[in-house]
Each structure stands twice: as structure tokens, then as C-alpha cells.
Symmetry: C2
Amino acid sequence: MKRILVDAFGGDNAPLDVLEGVLESRKKCDINISVVGNKNKIDQISKENNLNIENLEIIDCKTEIAGNDDPMEILKSKSESSMAVGLFSLSQKKFDVFVSAGNSGALLVGTNMIVKRAPNIRRIAFAPIIPKLEGKFLLLDAGANAQCSSEILHQFAFMGVDYFKSISNVENPKVGLLNIGSEDNKGDNLRKETYQLLKSSNLNFIGNIEPNDILFGDCDVVVSDGFSGNIFVKSIEATIKTLICLFKKDKNNLDFLKNNEHTYLNQKKFAQESYSVLLGANNPVIKLHSSIKSSSLCEFLISLNENIK
Amino acid sequence: MKRILVDAFGGDNAPLDVLEGVLESRKKCDINISVVGNKNKIDQISKENNLNIENLEIIDCKTEIAGNDDPMEILKSKSESSMAVGLFSLSQKKFDVFVSAGNSGALLVGTNMIVKRAPNIRRIAFAPIIPKLEGKFLLLDAGANAQCSSEILHQFAFMGVDYFKSISNVENPKVGLLNIGSEDNKGDNLRKETYQLLKSSNLNFIGNIEPNDILFGDCDVVVSDGFSGNIFVKSIEATIKTLICLFKKDKNNLDFLKNNEHTYLNQKKFAQESYSVLLGANNPVIKLHSSIKSSSLCEFLISLNENIK
């Protein structure tokens, strides 16, 4: 069974929601899970909230990283934070995967510097799993690397396909290049060069792909530089938020929103279901949305435990 | 009174919807409007549909450009199309503004080559007016220039501000730089360089701006390269389409969608209200959404007639 380590002090609702989510997942299934964080604080909050943490392994550490801390502090003043210690434990192979809802920038810096890049990997990518009309797709990069070369994007495609295979039953995932048109020669120089590299690869490359075809289509892995990938996912989120805001003006729609499970009808659900993998590190690191609640965390951990191979 | 020329053969519903929209706008207000297109075809379709085109000036021409024609054909086999002849008439100052719902690429090529860039303008930008939660904003560039330098983006900001002033009562429009974070040093090299140029300009520059802050905020002019600007606007459209598609599954929502006028609740309305200006040409060229219907065209023409200065 894979060993999962969770950052108890990552996210807006930490540590309470993290602890509740972890404990709930242990009740619901057979799962090997530990948390990292200041033990005294965890003991105290557990007592205050009647949480039974008796058999829960806690990796003790001194402090934690705040959402607004400078990411570089994970290597300096926050080198004994739950995130830093968690990444260090992962790098020592004490665990198989590290999960945090904390500061994205710090997690990226820490993953690069503590867990380190896997051999021959040029860049670690921020790779969210994003819901679409039917199913989900993997986007990489979604913000870790604002500046990319075509060689980097080419490698992202392979990294994305490997990962997508590992979490799905799809044997030959479809790869698309995020672009402003579907024709071969569309986009800027970066896109034109990347298109040629992907076309001559042995991947299941379906060509350039626009936002609409991604949300309504069957592309599994969408390749992008971190700048436009980030604009893409943040535009989806902002639009959902705008529409939900308008819909909530009519209370008939509130019932519909409540009764309908699709993540596009719930901006919080969308954010919480769009977890990101930091692909390309020596060991797997997963970033959850900072606003994640205990119930979503519990669901996520159970699904992670089932799918991790 | 400004003289408006409309491409009778631009768009999916041309020429019938174009003619109906034009005639309707003439009924509703005092407007100086002409159309360009093959006169025989216009006469025929008017007869078939009982349209009274008696006092409508028609600039006659041989042919038209199709939506899927290669844009370069406007200079070659389609140099006598309604779009080409319309742009030529505009360049000869026979009209003050040319409006078309036809092939975007051809309109861009034609504007560059026939109407030509205004003095000192580096690039013509595709600048849509986009609805947001409250009001609208101008985005440039949204797809005409996939590859941009910081000098080009700097100039886009000035072009956008000038135009925004001309269509609004805002004296000092707020300018934002589309970016993946709001901090000063966010983004790739292009963003970092552009940020410095805009910061030291005399514009009302409010800094880097993310999609969410654009849709919920009060930024008037959003500056972007054509690649990420295009991803931004197409992501908004795709998300609206996805959500509307989900909402239509419940018929209670159909009534709400019908009764609520906000453009974010109607993907067609959104597309039709997001018309684009080709900024930076010697004379103004406006691109309407290819799916525009007569009623939206009529509304647009009346508003154009009122606002053009």
C-alpha cells in the first residue's frame, strides 16, 4: 500500500479541515496516511474539536508557511515548516506521495530544490486535472513556467501522457496543443515549433486545440506554456464565478445548483476538484486548492489511494 | 452625420439578416448607411423577402468572401468581393466606417493592405469590446498579432485608451496588463518589460491584472499579446457555452435565461455583443460576430451611429 503524507498546515482551512479530512478517509477505507505539522498545535486543535488522532502518525516540525509568504522562504526562514519537512520526508522515500493545499509558489520552489527534478527532466510543470463537460483533462503547464521553449513543451507532452495513463484506463491519451486556431500553422513561433515536434513524435497528437474544443471534446492532455495555460484555467474559473454570481440572483436556480452535481455549476467545487500535480519531480507532489474543505479532501484522498500505482 | 458602410455579404446569415438589420436601423433612427455587395443578388433576395430597398445605396461588386476562404485571397481572387470593395471605398474616404461580419482573417489582411496602418502605428490590433459582470472592457490584442514585443503592447495601451475615450464618457480609462498574477514582477519577459514601459507612461495604469479581476473589476482597457488575449476571450466564451449547456437541462432555467438580459447568461448574445474594432488603421473597421442576427445588427448600428464621433 502506498504511503501518503499530508501537509496539516496547508490551505485556508488548515489544520482543522485537513485533520478532519484525513481522519474521515481513514474511517472510510484502508489507507496508509500520515500528516506533517507542529505536533503541539495538532494535539491542541484535536482536543478542542474532539478529533481522535490516536493512531495517526504525525511528523513533527516547528512551523508552517503562510499563503502570502515569499515562496523562497521555504529554503530560508521556513525550512522547518510542515511543507519543507514534508517534501524532505518525501525525498528520503519515507512516503510515496506528498499532498499540500498550501502556498503554490513555495511548493514549487520546495519541490524543485528539495525533491528535485527527475533525471533528464527540463522543468517541473504545474499540471491540474480540470473538469470539462464530460470527464476531465490534464493541462500542463498551468503556471509554473511562464517562459517556455518548444523542447520544454515537447517534454511536457510526454510527462503528461505518462501521468494521464497512470490515473486512467486510457491506453493512448490524446494530446492537444493549446492554440488560437486548429489549423497547422496557427499561433506564435513557440506554437509552430512545438507543433512540428509533437507531429513527428510517437504520441497520439490530435493537433492544435482551442478552449471550446477542449471543454466539449475528448482531448486528454493539453500542452501549453505556463503563461497561456494559466490564463486559460483562470479564465474558466472567473467565468464560472461570474455566471454563478448572476444565477444566484434567482432563488429557483439555487435549488438547481444545489441538486446538480456537475462541477461547472459550482465554482467552489470546480476549484476544489481541480487539483494539480507537480509533474517531473523525483517523487510525486500534489497541490490541492487552498480553499479545500474536509469533505473534498476526504474524497480526494480515497480516490488518490485507489488510483496511485 | 457619419457615413456607415456595411458588408452585405459578411457573416453566416448574410445577406438577408444584414439587409433586414440595416433597413430596420434606418426605420428607427436618422442614420446614413449604405451596403456593399452584388446588386443583382441583393435585388433578388429583397424581392423574395419583400424588403423595401428603394432608397438604400448599394455599392455594387462582383463577388464575396466565404468564411473559410484563405484570408490572403482578399488581395487575389477575391479582390472584387464585397469586403475588398468596402475597404477600398473606406480608404477613399467615401465612408467614415466599414462594418463586416465576414471572414476575420481576410478583414485583417484587407485592413492592413487596403486601408493601411495609421502613421507611426506598428500593428493593427483586434480589439473586442467584452461584456463583464458590470459594464464592458476593451481587450487588445485579441488575436491579430500572436507574436508581440513590449513596444507593440505599449502602443496598444495608448490606442486602446484613445478608442475607449471615444466610445465612453470615461476621461482617464484604467489600463491593466493581462497577467498571471497581480504582483509587479509576474509573468514572462514580455510582461515584465511591458509592465515597466506602462508604469513609466502617463497612462492610468493599474498594473497586472488577472481574468477574475477583469470580469469583476473596473479596468477599462486590457492590454495583451494576441495569443493570450485570444485564449482569454475564447476561454470565457467556451465556459459560458459549457454552463449554458448544463443549465438548459432544467426547464426552470430556460425561463430564467429567457427573462434575464445579462449577456453572460446567453452565449449567443455574448458573442453578438462582443464586436471587435480593428484599431490602428487609417479609417475605422469593425468586425461583428459571424453569427449576428438582424435584430442585434440593428441595435449595433443604432448605437454606432450615436457613439461615433
